[in-house]
């Protein structure tokens, strides 16, 4: 009875590999990134050995919390979409690597930002949008407009069009009055 069983901490149950500048190196390979990672050797329950130094010719990045932390908790995946590890924060991997990873992330999560709304026309259940994004005119079609607008916060929205493209309005309050009026109804 004297031996009280200690409650296991969640962290003891599963261990997460965090990538830092001490255990990984990102290098540009072609137009994308390769990764060399050194992890402590471990022998799993089925006798398989994991760990050691390994090089991946191409790695992929995925945000764990794309809206809350765009540059933290980045899952790093190999060609087979198996997670190699997680970058807890881009500053953990050193400034040069952070820059490389950041540009990969920015490319992956790229969505045109709508600066101004020229017109939103509703016709037969579809809405036809004509907007200005980064100085370019864009037109797209949205089906079922209420369901196609995702509110990330009260003022930040994503609009998904018929083809699966996403458009972002980072702050609806910051839009000019005329543009805001055009989408007010759908918010």
């Amino acid at each position: 009875m004297s031996e009280e069983k200690k409650v296991t901490e969640l962290g003891d149950v599963v261990s997460i590999t965090y990538l830092t500048r001490d255990n990984c190196t990102f290098t540009k390979n072609g137009d994308f990134l390769s990764l060399t990672v050194t992890l402590p050797k471990e022998i799993g329950p089925d006798g398989e050995e994991t760990g050691g130094t390994k090089t991946y010719d191409r790695v992929y990045f995925h945000r764990a919390f794309p809206y809350d932390h765009p540059y933290a908790f980045i899952s790093v995946l190999d060609r087979e979409s198996v997670e190699i590890g997680i970058i807890r924060d881009l500053s953990d991997i050193g400034p040069d690597a952070a820059e490389l990873v950041k540009s990969e992330l920015d490319r992956k999560y790229y969505a045109p930002v709508i600066d101004r709304i020229v017109s939103v026309k509703e016709r037969f259940g579809y809405t036809y949008w004509h907007v200005i994004s980064g100085g370019h005119e864009l037109t797209f079609t949205v089906r079922d407009v209420y369901r196609s607008i995702t509110k990330v916060t009260q003022t930040r929205i994503f609009i998904s069009d018929e083809d699966g493209n996403r458009y972002e309005i980072p702050d609806t309050e910051a839009l000019d009055r005329k543009s805001y009026r055009k989408i007010e109804l759908y918010l």
């Binding site: 137009d31 090089t55 010719d57 790229y110 016709r123 036809y128 037109t139 083809d163 493209n165």
Partner: protein, 772 residues
Amino acid sequence: MTELYDIPKEVKAALEAKGIPYEKVDITAKTDLDDGCVPCDNYIFVADGDIIILAGSMIGRLKRNGIFKQPKPVRHFTELSYTHYSLSDYEEFQVEELLSSARIVARRRADADSLPRTELIANLSNTYKNEAYKFVRKINALIKGENNESSGDNNEDKKDEKEELFCPKCGRRYADPERKICMRCMDKVHIIKRFSIFFARYKFQIGAIIFTMILTSALGILAPYISSGFYYDEVLDQNGRFYGKILLVIGIILATRIISILVSIVNGVISSRVAAKVTYDLKKEIFGAIERLSIGYFTNRQTGGLMTQVNNDANNIYWFFCDIVPYSIVNVFQIIGIIVIMLIMEPVLTLISLVTVPIAFFLIRKVFAILEKYHAKRYSQSRSLNSLLSDILTGIRVVKAFSKESEEAARFDVRNKSLAAANMKASVFNTTVFPFISMLIYISNMLVLGVGGWMVIDGKMSYGILLTFISYMNMVYNPIMFFVDIVYMLTDCLNSMNRLMDVMDAVPDVVESKNPTPLGEVRGEVEFDNVVFGYEKNRTVIDGISFKINPGEVIGIVGHTGAGKSTLANLLIRLYDVGSGSIKIDGVDVRDISFDDLRKNVAIVSQETYLFMGTIMDNIKYARPDATDEEVITASKIAGAHDFIIKLPDAYNTRIGFGYKDLSGGERQRISIARAILRNPRILIMDEATAAMDTQTERRIQAALDNLVKGRTTIMIAHRLSTLRNADYIIVIENGKMPEFGTHAELLAKKGIFYKLYKLQLEALRNIGIEE
């Protein structure tokens, strides 16, 4: 040449200026983002073993050469960059899907001493994704040196290539490429015409409705004349023709009133009859259209809303044809009639009285537009409140388990408040604006009263006529209000019609053969021959699987979650059709078998058990309504359902479904197994059928099923490998491919994937103290 994109002549010229004749091009494609994700036009050509990317911007505008001439596009191509890759440097092209965009990348042929390198070829938005996949497939075939003409899916490609994706009128892409209808350019008349077919059957009744309506409104126009002008000038006036004949005139007034009431009763009776019939017809047609569609249609759309929408839409369409159209006709008549009468009575006064009409009309329109906004806002608020409410109530167990009642109440409160606010705004607007509009009408009344009074005093007009005039004037406003209101109802109705057209026009992916091969007595031989399939175009879920099951054999399919096991079952029962390859039953392609034959001979018990509202008996008999009670009990016994059913107070007559007895997952599963067994099919598919049961029950059912499967071709999809011990063969599916195939013993000896799975499960069992 494979033209995935029609290259404009300006770009062709730019290409030829580089010394590459267009005839030499093998593949053309287009993407729409540059390296920095800025919109641009990248034209991709494959010619002479090279990939050429001509990037730039194509600027087009419409130019009209005369007032009545169709505008013609004038285009200009500005070249920004010209890139050149040698095809022989690369071993494979790929499309990488990102979030809102995609890119085409290529893997360079590896040098011995360096890492394999991947390079970016072009960026694109999701709009061009499908074309990019086609392009990559073509170019990879070219690299591998495959002969394009002989590849299996060439036919499909040819069809796709010529697909018109753009509306010829406005140049925008079709919202839904399957339906070549541009919502922007669609003709309203065309839609209305299509739906008027439903009403053509009742044209006499609808004619009668319109006739009675006109009659009622004509009597309505007559009434003020008799009761005011005529009454004053001809009955009460000593000089009148009907002086003193009060009773007679009152009688006439009463008679017209009674006739008018009778006519409107007739109208009401006819329209309610037609209403019921037309909505019935419409819903029947729509439901028929929905049922005809393949399962793929439903997975692409939210099915939940589909049925309610269909109901609302059918009602909307009814309103359009039985309410809006007749009332419009009647109101037009009424307005014209009244104005004509007014003009005959007093032309000058008419003009004065109508002065405020245009102002009122525009004002009302504006007000309605704002009102519509408020309504929409209120509607979306109440929708969000309702969805939250149903969300919380469905998940009430979880809410209570985590004691989150107060948080949920707070969440509810927020939405409730905003709904209340929206309601208040709308009501305040209503109550402030409408008095103003009535004021406007009142002003014109005053005008007429003033000018008319003058005229009466001057003896230019009788008092009776003035009174009649004023009553007519007030009658003009109702039809005008109607026309303002109708604009919004009209958009609603047209939207409804369009949605229904969407359902009715949707082409089922899986079509029953017109001349099916009769199966006769089925032996139960099943053959998968190089089957390739993907739920979405270009995404392969099943990749070249072939196997053959002899009649009466039991075959097991194992694999990880999402490996494609259930997909194989879905393909066999033709919920979907194979992309290429074929599936045969007794040597006949399933696509040549009638649905009736196929479903009579193949039954599936899946992970997903759906029981309909009704009794347990109804649910089991669903498979074969003519089954006897004994057969139902036998089937339930085999499925292990009998024991628990008999313990229920109402046994087989227990009502299940919404608001009734709630069965556990395992119980539902056993009922659905009984349903499949009752069908007595030659081919039985068990898709994780016993997954939701405890081991003991599973064993019991398994033992009964072992008897059942004798002589029946059985496909067993299972996680628990112990379930498959009696299978003649086991197929291992991984990533849509079939890496292992053989008997239980053979696969164990192979020490591959199956062996690994087996060992893992054995380990797990040993850990909990069960030795196999």
